[in-house]
């Protein structure tokens, strides 16, 4: 038997539970959050009419820059009222950048934009499944190699016909303003422009400015090596500096390791590819044939193995967080990493805050990452989708997405004095993006992730000392050929 108190408690719990259920039943969509936030930073002076009359949107001021081109050169006049597009991407900064831009686009176009995002570990499978079956996405923002895979499979479409449509295209599009290597590598596939660059990425060489500029260390370096201590530009200079700063080789070193990077089994290949192009090699050529089993590939792999002497013993287990924490704790003098490392080193609690400099990776041919935005072949609102793609990659809207840690893809934005002043790394990033030749994931449709795995296995075996570099190249080449031939991809 229940006593009165127990009954009362249960009744209260039951009522609370029922209330929660009712509340959750009422918790409908909240797509207007972003619109509300846009209203805070910019404002619309007229509602979209759908009749072709101009919609004035006052652009926000971002990093001291007043954004002007809020209606795609006057081509957005609320004419898409009642239409809706869905844009899919990975959860995180890309999602946020799209959601920040969407309210402005909605105001000037009259359309509704829904940004759907999926977790980092599984967004690829989810988006691909939908592209092949459900066709609910109008646009996707994805890594370049995946977009090219979709292009090969006919899942995304050529943007050229839309760009050539004078009634549709913005007069401010200016394709030549995109960093040429980005537009070429990110956008073009088999003579079609299948995407526009959205988020650029390149491996950057980070170094401890305070150590490289220390007169005592400079003198010690000169005495030991006969050379001046300077920011390395070549692999040889890099190896010399790394050896000098490795405590096990030089007990006077103020740091434990000369070199560090992330090199777990998803990222170790970049130690190799950061030098591969520098020595004149490539991962695959234009005919999708492996182009690394040569002198360049061998020298780059031998150099990667050499770097492990100056790196932490646990190098092959270091992922993003572990490697960055190690560098932010002042353990290493130099590190190759994606630009996002800068947030960690400049964060509160970092022991190297204000002490880190950056340069193009030694050899001058860094590995490039990158995301681009494409239009699906199944979209029912092609013109509207094109206008959205054009809008979020426009010169002014690129400035807006810098807030979400999306660096610009247009040269003109790197030249803006306001941005140069607030983002001193931009000149290095621009140089790196201009010089980059090899993608982080081999640009081969369908099998790119598989090729990543093959490279990782071989490079890890070499770095662990289990496999001879020449043998590893042979194994990689054989496996590449098998995978690429198995996928039956025709050359472009």
């Amino acid at each position: 038997m229940l006593n009165a108190n127990q009954k009362k408690t249960r009744a209260v719990l039951g009522m609370g539970f029922a209330a929660v259920l009712v509340l959750s039943g009422c918790s409908g969509g909240n797509n207007n959050d972003n619109a509300a936030s846009a209203g805070a930073s910019g404002s619309a002076s007229a509602s979209p009419s759908g009749t072709g009359s101009a919609v004035q949107v006052d652009g926000p001021t971002v990093y001291g820059i007043k954004l002007q081109d809020m209606d795609a050169g006057g081509t957005l006049k609320g004419q898409y009222k009642g239409q809706k597009i869905v844009v899919a991407t990975m959860a995180g900064d890309t999602e946020k950048a799209l959601k920040d831009a969407a309210p402005y686009f909605e105001k000037v176009s009259g359309a509704t934009v829904e940004v759907q995002s999926f977790p980092a570990e599984s967004y690829m499978e989810k988006i691909q499944l939908d592209l092949q079956t459900n066709h609910s996405f109008d646009s996707v923002v994805m890594p370049v190699a995946l977009i090219h895979g979709y292009a090969e499979g006919g899942l995304v479409q050529d943007l050229k016909p839309y760009i050539d449509n004078k009634d549709l295209v913005s007069p401010n599009l200016d394709l030549d303003d995109f960093i040429p290597s980005l537009l070429d590598i990110y956008g073009n596939y088999k003579s079609k422009l299948v995407a526009l660059p959205y988020k650029p990425d390149a491996q950057i060489f980070f170094y401890r400015k305070d150590l490289f500029e220390d007169p005592k260390l400079q003198a010690s370096f000169k005495a030991k090596t006969g050379h001046d201590l300077k920011v390395p530009e070549t692999p040889d200079e890099m190896a010399e500096a790394a050896a000098f700063f490795t405590k096990s080789l030089n007990p006077d070193s103020p740091v434990t390791y000369g070199y560090s990077t992330m090199a777990d089994n998803t990222s170790s290949r970049w130690i190799w590819t950061n030098r591969l192009a520098a020595f004149g090699g490539k991962d695959v050529d234009k005919d999708f044939k492996p182009a690394f089993n040569n002198e360049a590939g061998l020298k780059a792999l031998q150099f990667a193995k050499q770097l492990t002497q100056y790196a932490p013993k646990e190098l092959l287990t270091l992922g993003w967080d572990e490697a960055n924490t190690l560098f932010a704790n002042g353990e290493a003098a130099m590190m190759e990493q994606w630009p996002g490392l800068m947030q960690t080193v400049e964060a509160d609690g970092s022991k190297v805050k204000g002490k880190v400099g950056y340069a193009v990776t030694p050899g001058g041919a860094p590995t490039m990452g990158g995301w681009s935005i494409a239009m699906t072949s199944s979209t029912k609102n092609a013109d509207l989708t094109y206008k959205f793609i054009e809008y979020v990659t426009s010169k002014d809207m690129e400035v807006l997405k810098i807030q979400d840690k999306m660096d610009p893809t247009r040269t003109s934005n790197y030249m803006r004095p306001e941005l140069q002043q607030q983002f001193p790394m931009y000149q290095t990033l621009l140089d790196s993006l201009t010089k980059g030749k090899i993608m982080a994931d081999p640009d081969v449709p369908y099998v790119s992730p598989k090729l990543d795995d093959i490279m990782e296995q071989a490079v890890q075996s070499v770095l662990r000392g289990e496999l001879d570099p020449q043998k590893a190249l042979g194994i990689m080449e054989k496996s590449f050929n098998e995978e690429i031939q198995g996928a039956s991809i025709t050359a472009g």
Binding site: L13, F17, V20, L21, L23, S24, G25, S27, G28, G29, N30, N31, D33, V86, M90, A91, G92, D93, E114, Q116, S117, F118, P119, A120, E121, S122, K126, L129, D130, T133, N134, S136, D201, W320, D321, N324, T325, A328, N329, W338, G340, Q343, T344, A347, D348, G349, S350, G369, K405
Partner: protein, 276 residues
């Protein structure tokens, strides 16, 4: 003397186990209230020196965890309610009545449980696409109920089998109908079993990830595991404080359930099919 030594050893072992299981919870809790600069420190801050609620504020304002939490609560509760309703009756039928094909149906139900859930994802996706159930919480409830029924039936059969047949016979002699016997005799006796089954089903639906990832799309329909997983980043620092705050919130129902229903859990685990 021997008894004391035994007691000490048992206490030490229990202490070690408690530490092993409680430390991750402690670390999540403390990380959720640490300022960002204190989270990635080496050596780690074992006891937070400074406190902040900013991680919780962020997870509510930017990640809309409140809406996601309610979605999860709705789906898990509905799944539990429907599953328990169906299987309390089904289990009773399988336990009390002898009919042709009875064993076949019991085994079929158990075999369904053995099919790896991942194999069913694509068929579900295609069926839901045709039925217009993609990106709907109702669809998720249907899938979760389907997945939970075999285990719940199996448990209920065990719970009802434990009850002496004489009780039911007495009820029939006293004039109780079959439904009356179920409602007045079996159901009150199987309450601990209902609680245990409810917790297992609720937590199963609460923690499920793969199916909700594939079958839902929009932010409005996201469940907790999906939203928490979305916080993990690549090529940039994962917001560990926010992640810990979301994780702490996700733990609340499990903690609340285990604290409020402890008595029933012990009864249930010792009474039914789940005992060894």
């Amino acid at each position: 003397m021997k008894k004391n030594t035994e007691k000490t050893v048992v206490s030490i072992l229990l202490g070690l186990f408690a530490l092993y299981f409680l430390f991750p919870i402690y670390w999540t809790l403390t990380t959720s209230i640490k300022p960002k600069g204190s989270i990635i420190k080496l050596p780690p801050e074992w006891f937070p020196h400074r406190f902040t609620w900013s991680n919780y504020a962020e997870v509510f304002s930017q990640n809309h965890i409140g809406r996601v939490f309610l979605n999860s609560l709705l789906v898990a509760s509905a799944t539990t309610a429907v599953t328990v309703l169906v299987t309390a009756l089904g289990g009773y039928g399988f336990s009390r009545f002898r009919f042709s094909g009875r064993n076949l149906w019991i085994y079929t139900t158990i075999v369904v449980r053995m099919i790896p859930g991942l194999l069913l994802i694509i068929p579900y996706y295609l069926m839901f696409q045709k039925a217009g159930l993609l990106d709907s919480l109702t669809g998720l409830v249907i899938v979760y109920v389907t997945a939970a029924i075999p285990l719940a039936i199996y448990l209920f059969i065990g719970f009802y089998n434990e009850m002496p047949a004489e009780i039911f016979e007495s009820a029939r002699i006293d004039g109780c109908s079959e439904y009356g016997t179920f409602l007045r005799i079996a159901l009150p006796l199987v309450v601990p079993g209902i609680v245990v089954t409810s917790i297992l089903v609720f937590m199963g639906a609460w923690n499920e990830f793969s199916l909700s990832l594939i079958l839902t799309f929009s932010d409005d329909k996201k469940l907790l595991p999906l939203a928490i997983s979305s916080l993990v980043q690549t090529q940039k620092d994962t917001p560990l404080g926010t992640l810990a705050a979301a994780g702490t919130l996700a733990m609340l129902p499990a903690i609340a359930l285990s604290l409020t229903t402890q008595k029933y859990i012990v009864d249930g685990f010792t009474a039914g099919a789940v005992k060894g």
